[in-house]
Symmetry: C2
Subunit: 611 residues, 2 copies
């Protein structure tokens, strides 16, 4: 059967995007191909004047870290990897030469090309690797004709900014009619940096209710309800959706194929473009469901069959990625994108390092072409330093006369196999930390208090016996993906719940945890609320815990500290202690603000973007 | 005397910029400073999982290339440097370690910090180096209180896009009143990538007449005339100016201090923000004036005293930069920016390599703060790969327990001295190429034809004698800065000037040069015209020649080829030959387009952005 063409979505392009001309230079570039032509036309510096003669790196081999199984009942496939660098793990030497003799620009990796002006779609070798990986391995089942195109970005925040620029018009309350206001849907707890990119443009940020796996299609506050009951006096019905479907930030939700299908259908019905931001896609944890079953007798979501042989790609009758690991993962919205309405954001931030500032957009070719035009007059291209060093690491040098060296033992590059193996190792390490944190928190979520009571056992006999009170301190869903554990504190069981304003109580607990002996900093739920209403209604009840950034021993130590802090905080039954905590905190804040002022830069260094 | 505060320009912020909230996280970050705090709040990956254990590079020593004198009559100060890499020049080994023990974040250069999420203002060590270089060496005389602030960008195109976002509102012909349309001034020949960034936003692009040094303050088409006679039916009088004042692209103009003062005054009078894009500031060629004097008996511009001791900084009674080289350069608009109305764009594209995608913006602190907010939700920061490799190259490791290595012989980093010396070497090499190209073109600009005539010397004597016809083929100003030579073809002297439509004649010459035996590709003037009127009026008469991208021998070969092509083209006196050239070209174009289609990526590689 002939695949359908992707839908023409150009009526959703912003006015600025409509105005962007395709580069008129293309016709001109053709002349560069005249054999032997002397090019005095370009405005380029001379590559002989770059101060870098080579770029090099010591890098990991792909099997540095131990994977966890794709099917949670199996043992890890390799015991080779270690968790820390202290064991002097095997390394490879990557080298990007100044000049490669390779004539094919899709295989030539050298500084003369990588550090020169390049193409907006990306450094040709890296672009071609990513394009092939995306089309063949990551999304082998995109249903529209010709499949998706890719363009490299300076990371997903850049990718999202460009997508917004492409698909949204600026609206201003004082100037424009409310009927012209455009909107963007998002999860009711969301990654706020994305929301902060949308809001200054005047976009109406419209939250959709979620459960433990992610956005709800139906039910109260779910997508259907939000769209069907849209009140036009608030502006246009949203035509954009921003969603993180795998290891959602902050909730760690992993959206099942079943739910995806329901949501995609609604997006078809209401003609919505889905912007799928998936930095954590390869961090999916089958053991989350298993641990939940074991501890609680139920899975995180009924939509994830416990059957460990469940294969999401195969179940949809599609092609295999070629790798068991990739086949085991919930696939992207792209896998069901018959219309071409999915714009997917990927990043190297979590697979290599955030400082790469490198990622890519996958979408139908027309959309990618528009984003290319935006790129030409903004970032132009990601840095050639990172593009060449990653290209050399993964692809390695071409065979003939290329003095480069890639990241494999033999210098040939990781290739797709190595890249997938690397991702499996990362998944393994993060999954084990998730298990560690979850287990400690599961064990500590009830406060068990006992009291001795006297009771009459019989008419003649009186005996003392023990009564156990079980108080739930907090709850969470086992993380099915990502880097976070999302915890709801059960303030309603706190002795002072009736006496202290609830948000104040929550604030006091958060401060309490930053004091000795607990000394642990969590992200308060309030900073993930896309609207003030959500913050007031329930945002204050939550904390986000990151198990990814610190080593296992630290995860263990502070997970225990959190349990201890909860236990001790629930022992506070004097309102004055709450007042004191918050008063003290004001002094602490003042002192820290002062220290901060004197050390502005260092303050800004702590992963400021990525809360 | 107390310096004035910079002027509050916030009334020029765009609506989107006004809407941008300062990050609410700042208060939160303070808690990161609590001693011993366990941070489960950030959303960061673990630096132990970055596949790069070190980054390394072989780099040039700062004295690799031979400088030219600051005063053209002096010999070069050093004969150490070489022009090409073939001599196996001395190299240094730069190393960015995985971890540095240095506690001061402004001096700590390692992968744990550089490849992690960072701050939007830039990687702290590199940011602090640039800030200090800017304030102390590059612009020691900024007149407003506190001086300017800096923020790193992903290159100047990114910097300009952010500046436009900060200071301009989107306007749409079909939707908005003409009276709301904002405008941007630029040189009448301009760097079109910047214009293409402005135009889709609906900005009115308003060219200002230029002469050989740059924008005209007064006179026909000059800034005063454009602003004083502004016709409001075309929209608002422009409040933005985009200008390249040093080695202007495409004209190579170098704007004198005298002219700067006149233009700055007008910008004060009409309240205009000056966006100064200066990728070529360190490529100023005192020998341009000397060569012009020698060959033509007049300088490129009377505003540049031939007195080689003329020191632009000292002449304005200011502080020295600390370096003769920097003192010898025409200073930025910032040096007279009492109001804080200058936003300057710098880049490493020409000092290190375009592929860095690294630069910075210098402006008054409030403007930089707004651009920081824009950065937080778009590019976040330049790639840590390039930031750390450049920081290590120039700054080198700190003294205590830091296993890094910088770009000096002893591994300590180039420091400011080395950086300035590197720039001098680059200036030297590009200046010599400028001299080479200019000299060849100067020698070839007239077509000398002789004919023998009979004439009566006296009543009784008749003798044959020779008559020389001198026809000017083209003209140019000696480049005073930058990478280009801007040439005007004197089509009015061509035998077919009356018979062929002029733009057709120009097109034919351009095509003629791409054919054998000349085989040389120039940039046609038409691609530097910000408006169709300028293209029709005079754009077609010009070519831009780049002497920077290719080696000396290639500059020589193709400069000669150009002279030959002009000479031969002026010998064409049959209209049919012009027709044939253009017909053939259509076939060539079709063939090349076909080849191009099959090789799309490679086509896009030829410095597509940087025409």
């Amino acid at each position: 059967m002939e695949k359908p063409e992707p839908k023409d979505l150009s009526y959703y392009y912003s006015r600025v995007t409509m105005n962007r001309q395709a580069s008129k230079m293309k016709q001109f570039y053709q002349y560069f191909l005249i054999p032997g032509i002397g090019n005095l036309a370009g405005g380029l510096p001379n590559p002989g004047y770059f101060p870098y003669d080579t770029l090099e790196a010591s890098t990991a081999l792909p099997d540095r870290f131990k994977p966890t199984p794709n099917k949670p009942v199996d043992p890890p496939v390799s015991e080779l990897g270690n968790c820390t660098l202290s064991d002097s793990p095997a390394v490879s030497r990557v080298l990007v030469p100044h000049d490669s003799a390779e004539p094919n620009l899709l295989r030539k990796i050298d500084l003369t090309t990588a550090l020169q002006y390049g193409t907006a779609q990306g450094y040709p070798p890296l672009y071609s690797f990513i394009r092939s990986f995306v089309q063949t391995n990551l999304h082998p089942n995109v249903p529209y004709k010709g499949g998706p195109e890719v363009i490299l970005t300076c990371g997903s925040t850049d990718g999202f900014a460009k997508t917004l620029e492409c698909f949204s018009n600026i609206w201003d309350e004082e100037r424009d009619w409310i009927r012209e206001r455009e909107g963007i849907l998002c999860e009711e707890f969301a990654y706020m940096n994305a929301i902060q990119a949308a809001r200054p443009r005047g976009l109406n940020v419209v939250p959709v209710a979620i459960d433990d796996e992610g956005m709800l299609a139906s039910g109260k506050g779910g997508l259907e309800e939000v769209l069907a009951s849209w009140d036009k006096s608030k502006g246009k019905r949203p035509h954009l959706m921003y969603t993180v479907t795998m290891g959602q930030n902050p909730t760690s939700g992993l959206l099942s194929v079943k739910r995806r299908k329901e949501i995609y259908s609604l997006c078809q019905k209401y003609d919505i473009i889905i912007v799928e931001d998936d930095p954590y896609w390869y961090l999916q944890y089958p053991s989350g469901n298993r641990l939940s079953m074991k501890a609680r007798g139920k899975p995180v979501s009924e939509n994830f069959p416990i059957d460990p042989a469940h294969n999401y790609n195969a179940s949809s009758g599609g092609k295999s990625s070629g790798f068991d690991f990739l086949d085991s993962l919930v696939p992207s919205y792209l896998s069901m994108d018959v219309d071409g309405r999915v714009v997917r954001l990927d990043t190297f931030s979590k697979t290599v390092a955030p400082g790469c500032r490198l990622g890519w957009i996958t979408a139908q070719p027309d959309v990618v072409e528009r984003i290319q035009r935006i790129t030409e007059t903004s970032t132009q291209q990601p840095s050639g330093f990172v593009q060449s060093l990653i290209a050399e690491l993964i692809m390695g040098p071409s065979k003939s006369g290329d003095p480069g060296k890639g990241g494999s033992k033999d210098g040939s590059g990781w290739k797709v196999d190595g890249w997938v193996r690397w991702l499996e190792g990362l998944r393994g390490n993060y999954e084990r930390r998730m298990q560690l944190m979850s287990t400690i928190l599961e064990d500590g979520k009830y406060l068990i208090q006992s009291s001795r009571r006297g009771s009459r056992l019989s008419a003649s006999d009186e005996e003392e016996y023990e009564v156990l009170h079980k108080t739930q301190l907090y709850d969470f869903a086992y993380p099915m993906a990502g880097m976070f554990l999302w915890m709801r504190a059960h303030y309603e069981t706190h002795p002072l719940y009736q006496d202290v304003e609830h948000q104040r109580l929550a604030q006091a607990l958060w401060v309490f945890m930053t004091t000795k002996p607990y000394l642990v900093l969590l992200s308060p739920g309030s900073i993930f609320c896309p609207t003030p209403e959500i913050m007031a209604e329930k945002g204050w009840q939550y904390f986000r815990l990151c198990f990814a950034a610190v080593n296992d021993d630290v995860v263990e130590k502070y997970s225990k500290a959190i349990v201890k802090a909860f236990t001790d905080f629930w022992a506070i039954d004097d309102v004055k202690k709450i007042d004191d905590l918050l008063d003290d905190d004001e002094k602490v804040q003042a002192r820290l603000a002062n220290a901060a002022m004197q050390n502005q830069v260092s303050l800004n260094c702590h992963g400021a973007h990525e809360m």
